[in-house]
């Protein structure tokens, strides 16, 4: 049976485990024994979804150093001889995957967003030119299939529970890291736009008063996101950026305010149920993808729609009050 290894990044367990969906798509009918690897952390989430979980716990190992982690991954691969090695394209994964592929002399495809077979050859699709063109890439030479996979694109739905065998692995090679962590500050993040159901998103047309988006987000119980222009101007932090260089989001409702809709932005919208766009140019690219387009100024729209929603709420509440008790 084929064997696959997934690197479980401590920064994002869910997205790492979602790579099981990629394994499923590669070995559709043949089945595959799935291995996960955790280095100096545990993953409760991975229990009962992988066949085997390789656990490396060693205080002498500096897990933030890609060189050290490459040593471990190489050892593990030599022991089990995997057919596929999948790494989430987190910041760490993007340092680890190329190093490991060079160590193993294997072709690597980065930031994969889709896979499929063309003439029986596995083709990995990735965006190029800031997402403006897609490239289908095939591996040459020998060795395991290797890719880093864009976060939040694949999701693993298989609910069948497995009994996961935990393998404690003790690396043989122990190299001293040239890297020393001096200070770490977790980012204060009140919400993650990848989990939002309703996103109120602002682009170039909201530069003058981006804060105003909160007004609409409040009445719709949504969260705020932004296009790259807002981030590049330093108006909002990068963690709320939607798009190829930001995050892929999957809300039910996406209200695009003053967003032009460059491909790099649209690439960040996946399975969005409804899109409403507000733009002074009704032919802006985003409008073609919208269910509803409001032609006009974003701030005016925020005022009017917020007011409308509040007024309707007041009317409804009043109606409720006069309803006789039963």
């Amino acid at each position: 049976m084929k064997k696959s290894l997934i690197f479980i990044d401590n920064d994002n367990h869910k997205n790492s485990i979602d790579l099981l969906e990629v394994v499923r798509q590669i070995y559709v009918d043949d089945g595959c024994e799935t291995y996960g690897i955790c280095i100096n952390h545990d993953s409760l989430m991975a229990n009962n979804v992988f066949d085997k979980l390789i656990q490396v716990i060693d205080p002498d190992i500096f897990q933030n150093d890609p060189m050290i982690v490459t040593d471990i991954m190489e050892e593990v691969h030599k022991k089990y001889d995997f057919d596929a090695i999948l790494i989430p394209a987190t910041n760490f994964g993007r340092m680890l995957a190329p190093r490991l592929s060079m160590r193993l002399h294997v072709g690597l495809v980065a930031d994969v967003t889709a896979i499929g077979y063309k003439d029986d050859v596995l083709e990995m699709v990735r965006p190029a030119f800031s997402g403006k063109i897609m490239a289908g890439i095939v591996q040459q030479g020998i060795g395991p299939t290797m890719m880093s996979i864009r976060q939040n694109v694949f999701s693993y739905e298989e609910k069948m529970s497995k009994t996961t065998e935990v393998i404690r692995y003790h690396p043989l090679k122990k190299r001293k890291s040239g890297l020393k962590l001096l200070d770490m500050n977790p980012k204060v993040q009140s919400y993650d736009i990848r989990n939002s159901e309703v996103l109120i998103s602002g682009g170039g047309g909201t530069v003058k008063n981006f804060q105003k988006l909160e007004m609409l987000a409040d009445v719709l119980c949504g969260q705020i996101s932004a296009s790259r222009m807002i981030i590049d101007k330093g108006i909002a932090p990068r963690n709320i950026q939607v798009g190829q260089s930001g995050k892929t989001v999957t809300p039910k409702l996406y209200i695009a305010l003053g967003i032009n809709g460059a491909i790099q932005h649209i690439e960040g919208l996946k399975n969005v149920e409804y899109i409403i766009s507000v733009n002074i140019n009704k032919n802006a690219p985003i409008c073609f993808l919208s269910d509803l387009v409001v032609e006009g100024d974003a701030f005016e729209f925020i005022d009017k729609l917020s007011m409308k929603i509040k007024n309707e709420q007041i009317v409804t509440n009043k109606l409720k009050k006069v309803e006789p008790r039963r």
Partner: protein, 264 residues
């Protein structure tokens, strides 16, 4: 100390437009630029040089000869040496082959610190910096937003990394590789007016396969481990696109839509 900056000349992809009517990407009149993250690396190196004038800065790139004017301008803003690696045998190299070519050159030159960008706006695989680290047996870290120029010497560097969930400061032993992001705000200086046409030919170092001596088949298309099978423009599913005005009637339509779908 000596700083080597790895750079890439890329098309200015922000100028590409997507035409929804014909489902094509319009690439007319797109100029070539120095990749923004890489420019930040050179900007930082020149900042160090301005503080410590005995610093030597070398820029290394692999590029066709057509981008030479952009490279000459780097020499004009204060880079001591501009090395460009160019040979028909290298064309079509994927990131694996590219890294091997660049590493082979780097083995022939001296360095204390290698700076690269984190992202390139064209391919954006971010493979080369980490693969150079592997080939040269050096530590490499990406997403660098700040380097402490006062703490920098031949033996170590202190820098800040912007991660998905945290901002961290590390110390790294040198030699090593740091990959900078443009968010660091290190800027490439402008060319001084009097230097616009400065003759910098003696600062240009051209390297071909005569110098690197790769066997045919080890680099270029043949020496690559990945191959672009096809490129295509993704077609986006167009929606209804009901256009309304920003007036009472339009807002009523939006409200009914939201109510209908259960958002209010």
């Amino acid at each position: 100390m000596k700083i080597v900056c790895m750079v890439k000349i890329v098309p200015d992809v922000d100028k590409f437009e997507y035409d929804f009517e014909s489902n094509t990407v319009v690439r007319d009149n797109v100029r070539m630029i120095l990749n923004p993250d890489d420019a930040s690396g050179v900007g930082f190196a020149l900042k160090v040089k301005s503080m410590k004038p005995d610093t030597i800065v070398e820029v290394v790139t692999m590029a066709p000869e057509s981008v030479e004017p952009l490279l000459l301008d780097l020499a004009r803003v204060g880079v001591d040496r501009v090395t460009y690696i160019s040979d028909p045998i290298f064309s079509g190299s994927d990131s694996y082959a590219t890294s091997k070519i660049l590493a082979k050159y780097l083995e022939t030159t001296s360095y204390d610190c290698i700076l690269t960008g984190t992202h390139a706006i064209d391919g954006d695989t971010s493979h080369v910096p980490a693969q150079l680290g592997e080939l040269l047996d050096l530590c490499q870290m990406s997403n660098v937003i700040k380097i402490d120029e006062d703490a920098l010497d031949e033996s170590k560097v202190v820098f800040t990394v912007d991660n998905d969930t945290s901002v961290s400061t590390y110390e790294m032993k040198l030699p090593g590789i740091l990959s900078i992001q443009k968010e660091s705000n290190y800027k490439l200086p402008y060319i001084k007016y009097e230097d616009i046409n400065k003759d910098v030919n003696d600062q240009i170092n051209i390297i071909s396969n005569d110098d690197l001596a790769f066997e045919k088949g080890k680099v270029g298309l043949e020496g690559s481990l990945t191959k672009v099978n096809r490129t295509f423009v993704k077609e986006y599913k167009k929606r209804n696109k009901v256009v309304v005005g920003n007036d009472e009637q339009g807002i009523e339509t939006v409200y009914s839509f939201l109510k209908d779908k259960g958002f209010v």
